[in-house]
């Protein structure tokens, strides 16, 4: 993210210079320290200001650093990703199998070493971005129907999902009260549902013995902030091979989905129902689990997407890559469901990074059956850094403005320190201290303040390390991936934080120190 070495060398050089100079100049450091303690209130406030500034900057940089780490961690050096020519992102790519099936026959593509799954190490994939209404906390029924009887409602039918389902509510149950709410009539039920579920829910009910059909009013959805999230679904043909191509092992207890990609599970009403088998990234497993008040989804857990039940069969060890936010399912199921009948990409495994580069160039240039663009996978993910860069520039701008503000505040404090100690300066000059030693004394005092503040700020900012956050990474030409990232405070961010703090101290301390240097001893003592 930053030119770490340069920053580090600057910091080390600066510290060394100050230490040597302080020793040579015989600056009365004790005197400066004592003064900081004497005006402890101002010292404390200035240190606190440093802590806030450095802490917030480290927090912001940790976020962007997490994004960088994610894109850097994605992709395998020996992999080549093939997209249709002109596609700026997987989501826009369309590869017809008939036209492109030969790419996996390229001589540099490695063969699977798994005796149960022989063939070229190629992962044929369809990539789809899917809307998922974020399930409500109270009701996640897709279809809810019932008969109103007085102040109660007898459930005629209820679909899968949410608390209604997890509360073991079944057809025939009478709803007297639900989460403190009395479903007295259709209108009050509408109010309950309003804003709690995405889309529109058909509601069948009987009133005075005659059947009615209407729709639950969910139009107020946005008013309470209920929204949808975008899920990244990757349809694959051969999960074992795809996991091998992407170097993604499964967590213990997990398995790949079956040839059919479907299994029968017991629904909430005790009725057997079919569910699509999926493998999840660790990040998305946590995100989806939050809907069900769990920490993470495990094999056997279910969730609902596009009106279908999906059952988790395995969780990938995908932390630190964009695959962490993906759902893998059988391509022949998810492709047709979302109207994608072609492939988006094929990822080929070659020997190493050099081989990947050569293969990509050859395929792009020589493959004639269809216009394709092949790119080393690492390079493809590196291109997703555009958003990261834009965020980084924005934060650097904020850092610059805060640096100016902080420096001005520091100047204020140091000018005051000088004006209070005019007589001290006069005495120091009379007993033999040179003007430059006076300059250095006050500069050192400012730097000491910024050093303490910077160190504490770094410690405060370090608390952000490891936090999970969501964002989008993209190459800036449409598309992009919604990702779950881990905020990362590393050495270079801490070094930058310290450098920021010392720079504020230097700028804020230098001007007052120069003014102190020109104070005439007799004038000061008068």
């Amino acid at each position: 993210m930053f030119p770490t070495e340069i920053i580090l060398y600057c910091l080390m050089g600066f510290t060394l210079f100050m230490a040597v100079f302080a020793w040579l100049a015989k600056v009365p450091i004790k005197y400066n320290l004592r003064n900081l303690l004497v005006r402890w209130q101002v010292t404390l406030m200035m240190v606190l200001a440093f802590v806030l500034q450095v802490g917030v900057l480290i927090f912001m940089f940790a976020f962007v650093n997490g994004m960088y780490k994610l894109t850097e961690g994605s992709g395998v050096p020996g992999n080549v990703i093939v997209l249709s020519d002109g596609a700026t992102d997987e989501v826009f790519s369309n590869l017809g199998f008939a036209d492109t099936s030969d790419v996996e026959l390229h001589p540099t593509v490695l063969q699977s070493e798994n005796p149960d799954d022989p063939g070229p190490l190629a992962s044929w994939e369809v990539y789809i971005l899917v809307n998922q209404p974020i399930p409500s906390e109270r009701i996640n029924g897709i279809l809810l129907g019932g008969d109103f009887e007085g102040d109660s409602m007898k459930i005629a039918h209820v679909s899968w999902g949410g608390v209604l389902a997890s509360g073991n509510l079944q057809v025939g149950d009478v709803l007297q009260k639900f989460n403190g709410f009395t479903p007295a009539n259709h209108e009050s039920l509408q109010k309950l549902l309003a804003g709690k579920m995405s889309g529109i829910a058909p509601l069948d009910f009987n009133r005075n013995g005659s059947p009615h059909q209407t729709f639950c009013d969910l139009g107020k959805l946005a008013q309470v902030g209920s929204t949808r999230r975008f899920l990244q679904v990757r349809g694959i043909d051969n999960p074992t091979r795809s996991l091998a191509v992407h170097n993604l092992p499964l967590r213990s207890g997990g398995k790949v989905f079956s040839q059919a990609g479907v299994q029968t599970i017991k629904g909430p009403n005790g009725i057997a129902t079919s569910a699509w088998e999926v493998i999840l990234g660790e990040g998305i497993a946590r995100t989806l689990a939050s809907d069900q008040k769990k920490t993470t989804l495990e094999a056997g857990d279910t969730f609902t997407v596009a009106d279908r039940i999906w059952v988790v069969v395995g969780v990938m060890k995908s932390s630190g890559s964009t695959f962490d936010s993906e759902i893998w399912a059988k391509r022949t199921l998810v492709g047709p469901l979302f109207g994608k009948n072609s492939y988006s990409t094929v990822v080929l495994r070659t020997k190493d990074a050099d081989s990947a580069e050569i293969t990509a160039a050859e395929l792009t240039k020589s493959f004639k059956k269809s216009a394709i663009q092949a790119t080393p996978e690492k390079e493809y993910y590196a291109r997703l850094n555009t958003t990261n860069q834009q965020f980084l520039y924005s934060i650097l701008f904020v850092a610059f403005v805060v640096l100016i503000g902080g420096s001005l505040g520091m100047m204020n404090a140091m000018f005051a320190a000088i004006s209070q100690r005019l007589k001290d300066i006069g005495v120091l000059r009379i007993i033999g201290f040179a003007p430059w030693q006076i300059l250095f004394s006050f500069l050192l005092e400012a730097l000491l303040l910024s050093l303490i503040g910077g160190l504490l700020g770094c410690a405060a900012g370090f608390l952000a390390d490891g936090w999970s956050a969501s964002s989008i990474v993209s190459g800036g030409a449409g598309g992009g991936k919604s990702v779950v990232l881990k905020m990362t405070v590393d050495g270079q961010i801490l070094v930058f934080g310290m450098l920021f703090s010392l720079t504020v101290g230097l700028i804020g301390g230098l001007v007052p120190a120069i003014s102190a240097m020109f104070i005439k001893p007799l004038d000061a003592l008068r």
């Binding site: 200001a49 976020f63 989501v91 826009f92 889309g199 979302f338 805060v402 503000g405 209070q420 964002s471």
Partner: protein
């Protein structure tokens, strides 16, 4: 705990997300009270304090100006962040009237629907008498996206254009024929604010040399927008000058006459290195093998559409038909996926709910299924991916900056009080009550805060809107965020509040100064 957090949130969020509203209200109250109070009863008293405080501030102009400058630059950061938050908050707030709805594919991003959906969806899918029917002449709009590059060998961000393919009339619909002919009669070219020289160079038009009658006609055009005689499905019509409206209408007529003609935003045109009247060919990025040639008919007015481009939807659809004719048995892969979005405008929430229901039960939209949602709900969904970032901006960055400001002011005031202990003691001897000393110290901080805050917000407003052209923060699909006018209040309010909170402790210390102790120390 959750309940308490929600209460705190409901109290604080309006202050942070719509600070303009909250601040405007309290400021009006405060100003009214202040003017009334000081104007009639305590004018002399207030004037005395004001002069006294001002003189104190000017005595140490260096400290005052350093504190003011620090406040100014930190106000800049807060104003920028609040601008983004306010804009997003407005974009995701539901309107009760004249609300826009988006109809898209139900489950997939990007939405790709067959163009055969267009006619029914544009009307709101009415199926029986009594159903709500959208006025398709002015209240609906379809979007298809066509992207391409002028240099297929070396694609860069600069040489790529993404077109909104739509009915150009929906950019600006003139509902009254007399207004249309009036606009046609005003001698403003479609290329305004540029004129094409004989050499081919585009020269900016400095003045239009219109007659008084034509200037009156321009006024009528402006009024026509307010009266609803000119409408648009795109946002920002009300921001356009009447000259720009006339030029835009003429450009639209050109695109209607020749489907190759397009309207492009200034910055995009500049990036492409093209000028009005020039032609260019795009090699498509998303519609494989459908490469089209265009001629620039006009430019969007400076502002939110600087990076946008609009083409006639028939041009793309005709090209698709042509492709399918030329390739019998091999339809274009996007033949049944070319409709991306349908926008409709409905008068109120009830109408929206009716249309939403009509679309949901219609058997015509099953493969793929579609959904209808308010524009604000759609935007909110896109923003969900940025929720942590926005949370950080709102609850970490802004409060930390405000605290820093408060501390900087606090340091300045503390130092000032410490240096003037003797003076405070003398004031007490002269009869000043502790409360009066408190007012003096607080007043110094608040005046510095208000003045520097105003200067900070005003300079931010001018710098961002007039010089830079908006805050270009890469969030969702918003090109740039302009500082709202109400931001001019944010600075003084932030300055006043942070100054007040920062100076409470030092001013309390000042009013508790003991005369005997001070003089004992001096002696």
């Amino acid at each position: 705990m959750e309940g308490i957090a929600e209460r705190i949130d409901s109290f604080l969020v309006p202050l942070v997300v719509t600070p303009g509203d909250a601040i405007r209200f309290t400021l009006v109250e405060w100003l009214g009270f202040f003017v009334l109070f000081t104007g009639f009863a305590f004018a002399g008293w207030a004037w005395f304090y004001f002069r006294f405080i001002l003189r104190n501030l000017l005595r140490n102009w260096l400290r005052t100006s350093l504190t003011a400058m620090a406040t100014m630059v930190l106000v800049l950061v807060v104003t920028l962040v609040w601008t983004i938050l306010l804009f997003l908050s407005n974009a995701t707030s539901e309107k009760a009237k004249d609300l826009k709805a988006i109809i898209t594919e139900k489950w997939q991003i990007p939405s790709q629907m067959p163009f055969s959906y267009e006619a029914d969806l544009s009307e709101g899918a009415p199926s029986k008498n009594g159903d709500f029917r959208v006025d398709t002449t002015k209240d609906s709009m379809t979007w298809q996206f066509y992207g391409g590059t002028v240099d297929p060998a070396k694609r860069t961000r600069e040489n790529i254009v993404f077109f909104f393919c739509m009915d150009p009339n929906k950019l600006m619909t003139v509902n009254d024929p007399t207004i249309d002919s009036l606009m046609a009669s005003i001698p403003i070219p479609a290329t305004y604010p540029y004129r094409k020289e004989e050499t081919g160079e585009m020269v900016e038009i400095k003045s239009l040399n219109l007659t008084d009658a034509q200037k009156k006609d321009l006024e009528k055009v402006k009024n026509a927008v307010q009266k609803g005689q000119i409408t648009s499905m795109m946002d920002g019509l009300d921001e356009m000058a009447p000259e720009e409206l006339v030029a835009m209408r003429k450009a639209i007529l050109l695109t209607l006459g020749d489907k190759r003609k397009v309207v492009v935003g200034r910055e995009r045109l500049l990036a492409l290195n093209k000028r009005i009247g020039e032609t260019f060919k795009l090699t498509s990025l998303n519609y494989k093998d459908i490469d089209l040639e265009f001629e620039v008919a006009g430019v969007f007015p400076d502002g939110r559409y600087n990076q946008s481009a609009v083409m006639h939807r028939d041009y793309l659809n005709d090209a698709m038909d042509d492709y399918n004719r030329r390739n019998p048995g091999k339809r274009h892969p996007l033949s049944d996926k070319s409709l991306n979005l349908v926008w409709i405008r409905v008068p109120d929430t009830a109408s929206f709910q009716k249309v939403e229901g009509q679309i949901a039960i219609s058997p015509k939209f099953q493969s793929p299924a579609v959904k209808c949602e308010t524009a604000s709900s759609g935007v909110a969904s896109f923003l969900d991916a940025y929720r942590d970032l926005l949370w950080g901006l709102r609850w970490i960055l802004v409060p930390f900056i405000l605290l820093t400001m408060s501390l900087i002011i606090s340091v300045a005031i503390s130092i000032s009080v410490r240096e003037r202990r003797k003076e405070m003691a003398i004031l007490k001897v002269l009869g000043f009550a502790p409360g009066q000393i408190l007012i003096v110290v607080l007043g110094e901080a608040v005046i510095v805060g208000i003045l520097s805050g105003f200067l900070g917000s005003f300079s931010t407003y001018y710098l961002i809107n007039e010089v830079i052209g908006g805050v270009k923060f890469p969030i969702a699909f918003f090109p740039a965020f302009m500082i709202p006018f109400e931001a001019l209040w944010w600075g003084p309010t932030i300055g006043a509040i942070t100054a007040l909170s920062g100076s409470i402790f030092p001013s309390y210390n000042a009013c508790r100064i003991k005369v005997s102790e001070v003089f004992a120390r001096i002696s």
